[in-house]
Symmetry: C2
């Protein structure tokens, strides 16, 4: 039995107790952008329930063109007004360099990716970089509440980055 | 009090009952790629707990360059082996066209985005498109278990797309 099949069996239990549908626009008018890290359960960490917030995630919780696309759709079409950015301690993105990662792919498959890995060396500095990419984007209309945090994987706590 | 402050207060409760840290690599060796939709709580839907799976999300649950980046990092550096893709019924991405969205931004801010919105008209077809983008990428090494599903926001159930 694959892990996918095991998780599908869990879905049957979830559906048995499910009450829907909820409205499409997020009830709390907030979008969360976080790292994909397995230890960062955004629903638990922020006490979110179904229907309350958009959740955007990727390796590092960084802001590239695709996150600007998602945030633009979130604010312009679905009415979100606040953005919460979450990086975390012990992040995999701190463990390699962009050059090493792209070179290893080139050695193995013969093609070097046209994209950067977005690896970083300083957690707080990368939160600030992500905040700056949002604040300087012309495609995100509401920037009154764009705040960045580091989640501590040892304590479960969020600390704001200024 | 902003919604962000309200969610930060929830975090204090979460941290009070938190036991960590868990290991960095996902215990179930799986990466989930899903839409950012507020009604799609990936942890609930799949019965996932902290530490088990990478979770990647964006508007539509589509596959662009940034999702290939995240999946490449997930498989190459953190050992995941299976990929679960989730779109859902009543998706916002079915409610507009790429051209209208980009034109409306141009009218409002004077600049047309260089990126496509990734809006789609057929849910199952877009799941297949996303699966194909993963299967044809040279940067994703493990493709034995790449499966796509539609989450029904009315029933809570996942249906596989073939």
């Amino acid at each position: 039995m694959s892990v996918t099949d095991e998780l599908l069996a869990n879905n049957a239990e979830y559906a048995a107790n499910f009450t829907g549908p909820l409205p499409l626009p997020p009830a709390k008018h907030v979008a969360v952008l976080a790292c994909m890290d397995a230890r960062l359960n955004v629903y638990g960490v922020l006490g979110l329930a179904e229907g309350e917030a958009h959740v955007i995630r990727n390796a590092g919780g960084v802001v590239t063109e695709d996150e600007i696309r998602s945030l633009a759709i979130s604010q312009r079409l679905l009415g979100t007004e606040e953005i919460i950015l979450i990086h975390h301690t012990d992040c995999g993105m701190l463990t390699f360099t962009d050059e090493d990662f792209r070179n290893s792919i080139q050695r193995e498959v013969g093609v070097k990716p046209g994209w950067a890995s977005e690896a970083f060396t300083d957690l707080d500095e990368d939160v600030r970089q992500s905040l700056a990419r949002i604040r300087t984007s012309p495609f995100i209309p509401r920037k009154e509440s764009v705040r960045g945090f580091v989640f501590d994987v040892a304590t479960g706590k969020l600390s704001e980055v200024f």
